[in-house]
């Protein structure tokens, strides 16, 4: 009996586990929102970098250099402390308001997100876009040039060529690195604790400060990160395998 009570004294209260699960949900939600948007922006960035218009290509290259060669932490600090000081007072107040956007029968369905959430999201999206854009670009470069010329010779317009011939092949080449970037994004969300987003790392620090059970708090958070990364990896590999089989089946006998 004393052994079990001694063991129980070492474990974390359900209240604290609850905090960290909430934090983990925020980590997952933020990662999803970041990956979804930076994929779209990354596609645009890759297109801009491969553009024949020099200013556009040069601007995209500068963007990649700036966002990849400075720490995410400093970028987050800039968006958190610096950027609001450049905005007019009214815009700042609007950003900080927690206005209700949608409600139904007195139940709030959609609320303007907190300033911390916005900063974390903007910072992570701008950072990840630089990496994802480069991965998509190397996918585009991996498609042999004669694919384009063949499509053009067959009467495809340039847009159709990109849409039906080049992009499907380029994205298939880019899937493994993009999977890696998704995992990086999950890991990068941990830095948003520095700008006050209540995600997994933030809650683990909180629990640690409250209970002094450092080992348990960090252990729980570490375990959840590892499980999340394994889940992303597993889903990605499963999807790749299924896709591969589908393509094999499509080849006519």
């Amino acid at each position: 009996m004393t052994f079990f009570s001694a063991l129980q004294a070492q474990l974390l209260d359900t209240k604290y586990i609850g905090w960290m699960v909430q934090g983990w949900l925020m980590t997952v939600w933020m990662s999803l929102l970041v990956v979804a948007v930076s994929m779209l922006l990354g596609l645009l960035l890759a297109a801009a970098r491969s553009s024949s218009r020099a200013p556009l290509a040069w601007g995209a290259a500068a963007y990649v250099s700036v966002f990849r060669n400075s720490p995410l932490l400093v970028q987050l600090f800039f968006w958190y402390f610096g950027a609001p000081s450049l905005l007019p007072e009214a815009a700042r107040e609007w950003l900080n308001s927690s206005a209700v956007l949608l409600q139904w029968g007195g139940v709030v369905l959609l609320r303007w997100p907190s300033f911390e959430f916005l900063v974390a999201w903007v910072g992570l999206v701008l950072y990840s876009t630089a990496y994802i854009g480069e991965d998509i670009r190397s996918g585009l470069r991996g498609v042999p040039a004669n694919q384009t010329s063949t499509a053009l010779a067959l009467g495809f317009t340039p847009v159709q060529t990109l849409r039906h011939i080049v992009l499907p092949q380029a994205l298939r080449i880019a899937v493994p690195p993009l999977l890696g970037q998704t995992m990086n994004t999950v890991k990068n969300t941990s830095l948003t604790m520095a700008v006050g987003l209540v995600e997994l790392s933030y809650t683990s620090r909180q629990v640690e400060a409250e209970t002094f059970k450092t080992f348990q708090a960090f252990g729980f958070a570490t375990l959840f990160y590892v499980l999340t990364i394994m889940a992303v990896d597993g889903l990605g590999q499963h999807w790749l395998r299924r896709r591969g089989q589908k393509h094999v089946q499509r080849v006519p006998a």
Binding site: R68, N69, S85, S190, M193, A194, Y225, V226
Partner: protein
Amino acid sequence: MNFAMLYDSLPYLLWGAWPDGQLGGAALTVLLSLGSGLVSAVLGLGLGLGIALALLTGGARRVLTAVLSFLRAIPVLMLIFWSYFLLPVVLGLHVPGVLSVMAALSLVGGAYLAHAVYAGIQAVAAGQWAAGFSLGFTRWGTLRYLVLPQSLRMMLPSFMNQWVTLVKDSSLAYTVGVSELSFVASQVNARTMVYPAEIFLLVGLIYWLLCAGLEAAVRALQHTVLAPRPARTAAPLYHRLTRFFSSRPSTPKEFHP
């Protein structure tokens, strides 16, 4: 935008309170990155070669690959928390924050580089090993004179990426209160409270200079010192054979692959 008022804080951002107090700021960032860059390169080469050359087999190899995957799966921030909290407990003595951050960064960097080294060794064709052995090189000699020169050239971009990542990740030392550039910047920001945008733009610029400079230096190295040597015009077979047999017992240093 007002960068002029930052002029007074510039020395503090660049080297902290040094020479009157502790070294900090960009100088500490450079030291932190250099230290962990060096240790991670040694770790990565050692572990990567260990796995690639099957020096480790069975259980030890499985444990090592599991540990390396674990290190790559958790955020660097978590690892810094761990080493900051565990190192003093395990070693039973006071460990300065800089050293615990350096330990964490070296481990992560080493884990990623081990992967790159393994891939680089694997990428050298098996025929190169066979050629080395049939010419009488030992296992070590083949590695040293034939395989490594080729694979290091292939690995260099991975090393460069990892070093740039290390410089950027050194900013995470902020979370455990090490007075490197990011920490010092947030100090200056909290003290002045007037020009946050300028402060973090300037700090971003300093990091950019460090990272882009490192990248340019490694690129230059790749195109000069480590560039593949031009193919030598083959000496007549007779000369090659006599040279080969006359230098038989000595080290095969003359052999340029």
